[in-house]
Subunit: 240 residues, 2 copies
Amino acid sequence: MRMWCQSCREEYKEKDAGTCKECYEEASETEEELKREIEDLKAKVSFLRLCPPVDPHLPNTNADLLLYGVSESHEEAKSTLTPAVPAHRAVLISRSPVFKAMLETEMEENKSGMIKIYDVSYEVLRSFVKYLYTAEVLLDEQMACDLLILAEKYQVKHLKSFCEKFMTSKVNNENAIASYAFAHQHHAKQLIEAALSSIIENISTLTEREEFKELLERDPRLVVEIYEAYLTRQVNTAEK
Amino acid sequence: MRMWCQSCREEYKEKDAGTCKECYEEASETEEELKREIEDLKAKVSFLRLCPPVDPHLPNTNADLLLYGVSESHEEAKSTLTPAVPAHRAVLISRSPVFKAMLETEMEENKSGMIKIYDVSYEVLRSFVKYLYTAEVLLDEQMACDLLILAEKYQVKHLKSFCEKFMTSKVNNENAIASYAFAHQHHAKQLIEAALSSIIENISTLTEREEFKELLERDPRLVVEIYEAYLTRQVNTAEK
């Protein structure tokens, strides 16, 4: 008797045995079930998405808040506002404990219906609001960086972790030190780990770089952490 | 050499072979990936859920609409309103094309901020609104029935299919005829199929029932459909 794999239909030898028939069938069923669950969850996500009122000039958005990005110019000692991004109190309150506190108390923003956010561009602010409505945003490295900062400020955990995952997937030799410093500043553990691994792998070349010297100047504790991680890894490798 | 199943760890014979090693490993990886996707989607669902402003007496809900259930009493020729269920225009507009049309035009409801829904109890209305905010509701058979009707009226497809699935899972000999008539009335295909199957299986006893005779009186075409399905099944069985 010869054995045929029920999955790829090819003949195989005893030493290449994977599972028995029963477990194969069970696994196929499990996979089907998981796929059905995914379909259900996707339908739920698309049901729960809200249409963001991105354009303040559209009628009937019923938006009861306006958000503005503010950039301060020190030279001219004045600040400039981005165009307004409309939003709904109910949505912002649901998504962020910071907005919740701001909009459920007698704070200035609650009374005026205007929220000013410093050092953020119109584009980033729009993407931020869009994410609060849809849990969707198109990221590049700069946008991920900017949105992570906003997400941390307003405690929008889901967005922060979304940006952090994206940045983690982009860590390389070139940006490892910058990513490491950024991740520390914004308490992004997963990104710290990824950047640290990348730094340790290339430690001999990276320590020669200008950025590394700047990091040492600015925050020597971070450099200590790098060396400690490097030494721990050496010990672990030696033990194996 | 003996073969051990990599999944259940038990020894098996050639004829009980399931998969080769490679396919087993691939399947495990796929399963892990699917599970991760499920986790991500669950987090997205919980991020996108909104807190429904169920109690109109709570401050700071920012609700800009009030929904009322209306029941008409023919005897006393007057109608009574349920307590108000508060809601946000932005949410209702996102979830239902009917509410969207109502609230984006110069209709009475838009101006007054009051929506009256006929023949619905306070409990059902609350559950309906809760679902629009959270995609969650606790169903029993009556609630599924009532919410399906509302979901059809306001074209909330996701809720309709949620209720239909629930009702389909509850079809049995006792409720098959009633389910069948209900499903036809509300264009619930999946439920029609399930009820029809159940009726056909027990056709000899069910045709004797009072309900069946009532159905024949009320809508003879539905009874024709039952007999046609029964005959088709008989022919198919005979051919096999």
